[in-house]
Amino acid sequence: MSQASTLTLPPLGLAARRTRVMGVVRRDFAALRRSPVRVFEIFFWPSVELVLWGFMTLFLRAQRVPFAVTFLLGAVLLWQVLQKASNEISIAFLEDIWSRNLLNVQVSPLSSAEYLAGLVLFSLGKVVFALAVMAALALGLYGFGVTTIGVGLVPFMGVLLVLGWSLGLVGIAAVLRFGENAQVIAWSLVFMVQPLAGIFYPVSVLPAPLRAVSEFLPASHVFEGMRTVLSGGPVPWDRLAWAAGLDVVYLAATVGLFAWALTYARRHGKLSRFGE
């Protein structure tokens, strides 16, 4: 038996796969710990949005607009779930490009699925952390408890997380296909969803063609559902089921897109050129 085989776990075994996935998580966590700016960033922008919209709700409440606080603050909190899930997964991948470390990762036994699993797990941790900070702020500053959303909160967040990861994968695929200049797609894609998702207003205000598009956006069903719950209605499980189904389809499609983009990058020698 060679020294290598005694040093390492069987590469296709479950223990090795778990070790590699957690290796990605540990590495990204260590990088985060060493970068105070990144830690600051996790809750800075969400907090800015929360404070901004919080004051807006105070004004609207003074104008006796019903549900202003709950609708807007609930929307800001859930929007951050979507935005951060999308951006964090892209950033984690881009970090490997920026640090010229991508080739080291690509020649390691880490499979694409394990790499993505690691990125997703790490982004989940960051989203949860940011959300906890924002929820505490919302409660402390505006008396809005995130649990007001009730039992729907977890599935609402789940749908948005998965949609965010799918969008993040599209951003990564764009960078693999078009090169580093496509980073802008990774950042901005989620903002294309924003106007169609009815985050701060009901989808009914959209023109008919855009309303039809929003029907196929899982996020629009989440935000409509959130408003229903906050108005005192029941959790619209049928809408949630439709949104979850869409999520599954989009996630499968974007994983396929990522696999295709990686194959394209390998075929055209693009991996070798990142970070040059």
């Binding site: 060679s2 020294q3 290598a4 005694t6 040093l7 390492t8 776990l9 590469p11 296709l12 223990a15 090795a16 796969r17 070790t19 590699r20 957690m22 290796g23 990605v24 540990r26 590495r27 260590a30 990088a31 060493r34 970068s35 970090e95 490997d96 640090s99 010229r100 470390n101 080739l103 080291n104 990762v105 690509q106 020649v107 390691s108 036994p109 880490l110 499979s111 194959t263 390998r266 075929r267 055209h268 020698g269 991996l271 070798s272 970070g275 040059e276």
Partner: protein, 239 residues
């Protein structure tokens, strides 16, 4: 027995053919050099052998397995370092090695990292960020990373390009010794002909994407009527 067998590799990038028809083998414990002028196709060839670039034609077999089908198994037994690849600068040396120890699914990552820290005399820097190291110190960290899994094949693309002669000499000595102890084979590209003469059992010369000469340094010097490998290089590069 060949642990690496590349057969008739071809790679085109648009109208440019970077590699025309490259076949090579690396045997167990053997140190093989891949030489050639800039643009000869060395890095493209290495990247095809590592699965970073998909060849247009030809095949790569590592440890008796087709790389395209057994990527994880094959890559777990090799490792790689290059002068143009870096490590996450924000991390401390110990954190970088620990992270890669886990990506290679080592059974006892801490113990192995400690061994390599000692071997490469990285103790004083282990808590320093990679970005704060000199290029020589960074190269040592890269090579420590490349030896984490005691690879059966170590692929090095100009490993000592950023080092001064003294540091380069020490690294060469260390690599040769460790490879002999582990029974690791090495495939190296370098522009330092003395380095190649000193380390390599066999050399392949690439020019225009084709292997134009192969053999030991002495055989090649004899074949080209040259004093040493540097002269062979000049003759090959200038046609």
């Amino acid at each position: 027995m060949a642990i690496l067998r590349a057969s008739h590799l071809v790679k085109r990038f648009g109208p440019v053919t970077a590699v025309r028809d490259v076949s090579l083998t690396v045997g167990e414990g053997e140190i093989v050099g891949l030489l050639g002028p800039n643009g000869a196709g060395k890095s493209t060839t290495l990247h095809m052998l590592l699965g970073l670039i998909t060849p247009d034609a030809g095949s790569v077999e590592l440890f008796g397995m087709e790389l395209a089908r057994h990527r994880t198994e094959a890559l777990s037994r090799l490792n790689f370092a290059a002068s143009y690849v870096d490590l996450p600068g924000v991390l401390r040396v110990g954190e970088v090695l620990d992270a890669f120890a886990r990506l290679y699914a080592l059974r006892r990552p801490r113990e192995r990292v400690a061994e390599l820290v000692e071997l490469f005399e990285l103790g004083p820097f282990v808590k320093r960020r990679v970005m704060a190291l000199s290029s020589g110190q960074r190269t040592r960290v890269q090579l420590a990373k490349a030896l984490l899994n005691a690879p059966r094949l170590l692929v090095l693309d100009e490993p000592t390009a950023n080092l001064d002669p003294d540091a380069g000499d020490r690294i060469r000595g260390l690599l040769t010794r460790v490879a002999a102890e582990n029974g690791s084979a090495m495939l190296i590209t370098s522009h330092n002909m003395r380095e190649v003469e000193r380390m390599c059992d066999r050399v392949h010369f690439l020019s225009g994407g084709v292997i134009v000469a192969a053999g030991s340094a002495a055989e090649l010097a004899g074949h080209y009527g040259a004093e040493d490998l540097e002269e062979v290089f000049l003759k090959v590069a200038r046609g």
